[in-house]
């Protein structure tokens, strides 16, 4: 047995790691996983850098940011496997939700209508000279940050001028909302459902509605470690592939939710976790569960395939939101952080069908299409 130490953050989408470790998928590959629960994404990054962790549950954009060395020491990271699609939602305080519903928002409405309602609320607030609304996300280099910004910008709201964006750790979002410090947030499950159940928030959008088949976490590790541990990494990718298939099957959801609910994993009630797993979320306090299409897909639609176009899209968002300047050699470096070649090599013995290409186009709710071969026109330059 080879022992691997893997860091994770308590979120629904750590499910494939937990299932691989607890349901025998890792053991079948000769691996013994030690999962270490962490409290911040910065710790995940640093403990990978110093070698405390072999691999980790990581924000996709973080692998790109580390590789480019934005804001921190440049350490090439690789993402040789994704950990699922979707799983995030945007929620707002009930107070803001009531204002938005007066301006045309409704539970389960498409993101476009919700955005129009928010824009109207903001316009009215500006006339009354009220303080700007504050939204929380979980990390500067995260899909949550970019998805929230994408939705706001598409609705004509400038995320840097018309609202304030802050970072709040997911377990503290509820308290921050109760204290009136934030008016909304974009976060992975189960934390939106936790806020809805606490009677604090209403879910406005799933991110799958903003960007269908949108990526989320990846398995991240240092590029150097990946090169030195090819066989172990391949075994881990196979274990995660099988674990993800197991996680997606509805007949396993009850067992998975119970496993994830343990304090050593996510530590919220199994019922709350099942909402995200089944994609049947309660959108407003006291409301009935509603089915959100493809809310969270651990396995299907090649959900574990690390598309290099995902890395490129993150890079365009880093440029769009001025986290980094557009530099000619950066797109190549960013794309290189995603390693479909490692994924393909790992899964070759399983004989499963894989995508023919390593990149694909992406379509967003406003019908804009991201073509990874033409970053410049996507950035409007």
């Amino acid at each position: 047995m080879t022992r691997l130490i893997i860091g994770f953050i308590p979120l629904l989408d750590c499910a494939p790691l937990v299932a691989a470790s607890e349901r025998g998928f890792a053991a079948e590959e000769g691996l013994e996983l030690t999962l270490v629960r962490e409290t911040s994404w910065a710790n995940i990054r640093d403990r990978l850098i110093v070698g405390h962790f072999d691999a980790a549950h990581m924000l996709g954009p973080m692998a790109v940011a580390c590789t480019l060395g934005i804001g921190h020491v440049r350490v090439p990271m690789v993402a040789p496997c994704s950990l699922g699609l979707g799983g995030n939602a945007t929620a707002v305080s009930l107070r803001l939700w009531n204002q938005m519903t007066r301006d045309g928002a409704a539970a389960g409405s498409p993101p476009k209508l919700q955005g129009i309602a928010l824009k109207r609320v903001l316009a009215a607030r500006a006339l009354q000279d009220l303080r700007p609304l504050t939204f929380g996300t979980v990390y500067p280099f995260s899909c949550h940050n970019y998805e929230l910004r994408y939705w706001l910008a598409a609705a004509g709201v400038d995320p840097d001028r018309d609202v304030r964006l802050v970072v709040i750790p997911p377990p503290l979002l509820g308290d921050a909302m109760r204290a009136g410090q934030i008016d909304g947030f974009c976060v992975g499950e189960p934390w939106s459902s936790v806020a809805v159940d606490a009677g604090l928030a209403a879910i406005v959008n799933s991110t799958a509605a903003i960007w269908p088949s949108s990526p989320e976490k990846v398995l991240g590790c240092r590029a150097e470690w990946a090169e030195d541990h090819r066989a172990e990494l391949a075994a881990l990718i196979r274990a995660l592939y099988r674990a993800a298939l197991w996680c997606e099957r509805p007949e396993n959801h009850a067992e998975l939710a119970t496993l994830l609910a343990e304090p050593r994993h996510v530590g919220t009630s199994p019922g709350l976790l099942r909402r995200g797993l089944s994609g049947r979320l309660i959108l407003t306090p006291g409301g009935a569960a509603e089915a959100l299409p493809d809310f969270y897909l651990p396995a299907s639609r090649w959900a574990t395939f690390p598309w290099t176009s995902h890395a490129l899209w993150y890079y365009t968002q880093m440029v769009r939101w001025r986290q980094i300047e557009l530099v000619a050699e950066h797109p190549g470096l960013a794309a290189g952080a995603y390693r479909p070649d490692m994924y393909r090599a790992a899964l070759a013995p399983l004989g499963v069908e894989l995508p023919r290409e390593d990149t694909k186009g992406e379509v967003f709710f406003d019908n804009r299409v991201f073509d990874p071969s033409d970053l410049v026109s996507w950035l409007g330059r």
């Binding site: 911040s40 994404w41 910065a42 710790n43 804001g71 350490v75 750790p169 503290l172 308290d175 204290a179």
Partner: protein, 204 residues
Amino acid sequence: MAVAPPPVCMSDSDLHILLIDQNVMRASVLEEGLKEAGYSNVTVVRDMQNLLRRIVDEDPDVIFIDLENPNRDVLEQMFQVSRCVRRPIAMFVDRSDTEMIKAAVEAGVGAYIVDGLKKERVKAILDMAMSRFNAFSELRDELERARLALSERKVIERAKGILMREKRLTEEEAYGLMRKAAMNDSKRVAEIARALVTATDLLK
């Protein structure tokens, strides 16, 4: 153990140091160390409510945060925010820093300095923070060991009492019997004692 800090330059003693730590004892240990070393401008933040606002208001030159604190990600966001306020950057921005990162992570402390401040000026403060954090963990481990030893001693006393009563042994004989059993089973006396106490409770 805490290392004697190097002499502090006058200009460096004015650096405003913000310490974010929910552990009251550890925060005091570090605050005291910094003050002893001549850094008089130290602010400790224990209340995590509205941390961002607090940092902007305090306008520190150096920020330390304990790694158990989820609010570390709040600081990382500040690299990205408004260009007009002085913003913190990670202490570690080049490749030569990885050894230093390792030492800091192992000590359990995250360090941020304000953009434009020379890293060399902060090195002594970081060393001090790391040594105090390490000293604190040693202290905490020692306390934990002492607590464990105390609870083990209680179990051994109970087990001795059981043997003395049931087998009419002296205290020394009772202890000797448990020690022999422990040696035979390659276990610790406390484990044998705990097993005996549990078995006796079950047979009651």
